[in-house]
Amino acid sequence: MKTIKTCVTALISALLVFSPVAYADKWSDQFPHIKATGDIPGECSYESMSKKNYKGKTLKINTHAVPVMGEPTALHAEQFAKLTGAKVDVTHTPAGDLYAKAMVPFQAGQAPYDIVFGFSNFINDWKRYLEPVPKKYVEMKQMQDVTPSHIGIASWDGVMYQFPVDGDRHYLKYRKDVIDNPKYQKKYKADTGKELRVPQTWKEYGEMAAYFNGWDWDGDGEKEYGSAEVMKKDDLMYAAFYSRSAAYSKNPKTPGGFFFDLKTMKPLINNPGFVEALTDWVAATKYVPPGGINFGLGDEIGSFGGGQTLFSFSWDDAFVAAMQPDSPINNKVGAAQLPGAMKVWNRTTNSWDEGFNQAPFFVWGWAVGVAKKSKEKEMAFDYLCFFANEANHQADIGIGRFGVNPFRNDDFKADVWTQIGWDKDIAQSYVDTLAQMEESKNRVFPLRVPGTFEFNAALATAAAKALAGQLSPQAALDEAAKQWEDILNRVGKDNVRKAYSVGVAMEDNKL
């Protein structure tokens, strides 16, 4: 069986792997993945890893399905195995089941995986089963370049549990060829009396999306639509909702909690700010492609990346995928911060504060940790360190399907992106967008408290009911808030408060 497999693999590899272009760097000869930069010296470079010897040892990894994060995990595993002589077994699990797949054995006292991939908001539930990242790695040069917000994301109470390999946030993607098109700008102005520009508020976003919904505006013979969004319940849709809510509900005048009032621990998700956002969102079901109400992240990326919609907002993946050389909308997309709002709810005065407000949403993305019960911790950290070494990282962030996104100061330079074929102004708008988010003092991070999943699921279920028209936005959020109270009581208010206060500090950028 093994022999057959090897033969087949060898045959296919021989057919597929084109011979690498000769570079001076001996590592890029051997590993074409890094042929753009060659090996970059560092603690975990190819050179350093080749000196380690893990022969006879096995490293077990659970990661996401191929290709997003799954392919780089497997690719770097293969390279790591070649360099150190270790055997690396990688399993791939769909996103929705990553949590359970690691959590079931954790709770049963097992460590079938040395390394588990997940989302960074798993940290609260996972941290007691994870080995803190040893000092040696925390202090090394590679780590110094990671932005403070991503160090914060990977840590809990100052202890780093997750090894930074990815950075994620939600931002707006739009079709430059429409928004910047003078013909459409004129037409839009004539028809609506308003400017066609990168939408500044969610209302503008909605108006433009509705205007460009249901007709062929790029001349390919197919209808295009307004917006592609993750609206499918249980598929990260809660994140999309928080993105739309942040501007209405994250008021810089009222620090101390976005999800809960940290003092009273009263859920805030049914206040008028959130209701306004959900009302917007229900209206959005009118300008998504047919079936858009059932889009998961993959559908969203496929839809926007396939040139079907004007807008989309979520992770970097869609943007990078759209900018791949073989994409139909390559160099036709722009990036911008999430739209804001012209009013924001003030929970202290119980009224709307008028004026423009904007709040970026850091959706923590891929996170990875080493199991406490693992017998190969050193090797595991070496692997992660190798995964994120500079050469690998630079190669990875340019490949959209890898899902590895910027989280280092070095990544926020336009030339990193122009190198891989992006137009200069697009690259610039992209890195500017990301950098602004890092600096914002008024931002939102997803909930990471005990029972995170229950909170998010309750919210997603309620929001989904509203989107499907089963409940009004207010009724849906009231239902969610009631469930949040129940969960709070089950989990214990103080437990949640303690955990959430860490998040609130980051929201108000006080780190």
Binding site: P67, V68, V104, D220
Partner: protein, 282 residues
């Protein structure tokens, strides 16, 4: 009237055939597409509507490090687990079914029918109900992430099917047959394997077929109870379902995973036509 009836009859089965075949045709077409041909507009016929590519099929044998899934080993794992568990289930299930069909059991209020129902009722449990306890159970006996562990679990899944079919089958085999064997000097075991068994082949084929089908299509247990050592086909295929859904390779793997069982369909049809299975399935 006769003509109308005939017309309706053929219309109905042709429509149904189209309905059955449609998703397969779609899958075949999709398996030769790429991101572009899937996401820009609806396309059907290769060369005419889109430029076909073998990428979807290549993914199946490529290593994950190159964006593939490598389903060769999982394929054999699935075959092994399915066949072994089916075999054990059939052996144990057939014995139990024979006992339930031929002998009377009484224990308190429990009668034969109750025992039969107990067997069959195992199918009522949704896999989700059992998955966590099984996880703990297998981890206690050290069989997590192993082929044997999966076989053990699949026995629970499959034995009820074997018992259900074989009880029904044996109830149709005249019990005078085994009585004659006993009278002719066989003890109950000899009567069973010298006389009853050779005459139960149709039943065994049906039971075996159902066991294989239900073993082959299980996803949930295979998913929860394995980590890195053992991967079964459905789990591997589902692992293709990343946040970007690769329709093309999913289609290709769906087609590949159906292939072995299509042979089963032919076997069943052959036996049906020969009239051999009728008694077994009635």
């Amino acid at each position: 009237m006769e003509k109308l009836y005939k017309f309706l009859k053929y219309t109905f089965i042709i429509l149904w055939t189209v309905f059955i075949v449609a998703p397969f045709l779609w899958a075949i077409s999709t398996s030769f597409k790429d991101f572009q041909s899937v996401n820009s507009k609806v396309t059907y016929i290769p060369w005419l509507d889109f430029e076909p590519t073998l990428e979807g099929w290549r993914v199946l044998v490529k290593s994950p490090a190159r964006g593939g899934v490598d389903i060769v080993e999982p394929y054999f794992n699935s075959l092994f687990v399915t066949c072994t568990a089916s075999l054990i289930s059939i052996v144990l299930g057939t014995l139990a079914a024979y006992a339930l069909s031929r002998f009377t059991f009484k224990a308190g209020f429990v009668r034969n029918n109750d025992i039969t129902f107990f067997f069959i009722s195992q199918r009522i449990m949704p896999p989700i109900v059992l998955s966590i306890p099984f996880f703990i159970f297998l981890s206690t006996i050290g069989l997590l992430d192993s082929l044997i562990g999966l076989v053990v679990v699949y026995i629970v899944l499959l034995m009820p099917i074997a018992v259900w079919i074989m009880v029904d089958f044996f109830n149709r085999v005249p019990k005078e047959l085994d009585e004659t064997a006993l009278i002719d000097g066989c003890n109950p075991y000899q009567a069973f394997y010298k006389v009853v068994l050779p005459n139960s082949i149709p039943g065994l084929i049906v039971a075996g077929m159902f066991c294989i089908i239900f073993g082959w299509i299980d996803f949930f247990f295979a998913f929860i109870l394995t980590f890195t050592e053992v991967q079964l086909l459905p789990v591997k295929v589902v692992a293709l379902n990343s946040s970007i859904t690769p329709w093309w390779s999913l289609s290709a793997s769906a087609l590949i995973s159906v292939a072995p069982l299509i042979i089963v369909a032919f076997v069943v049809e052959r036996y049906l036509s020969k009239g051999n299975l009728s008694g077994a399935l009635k």
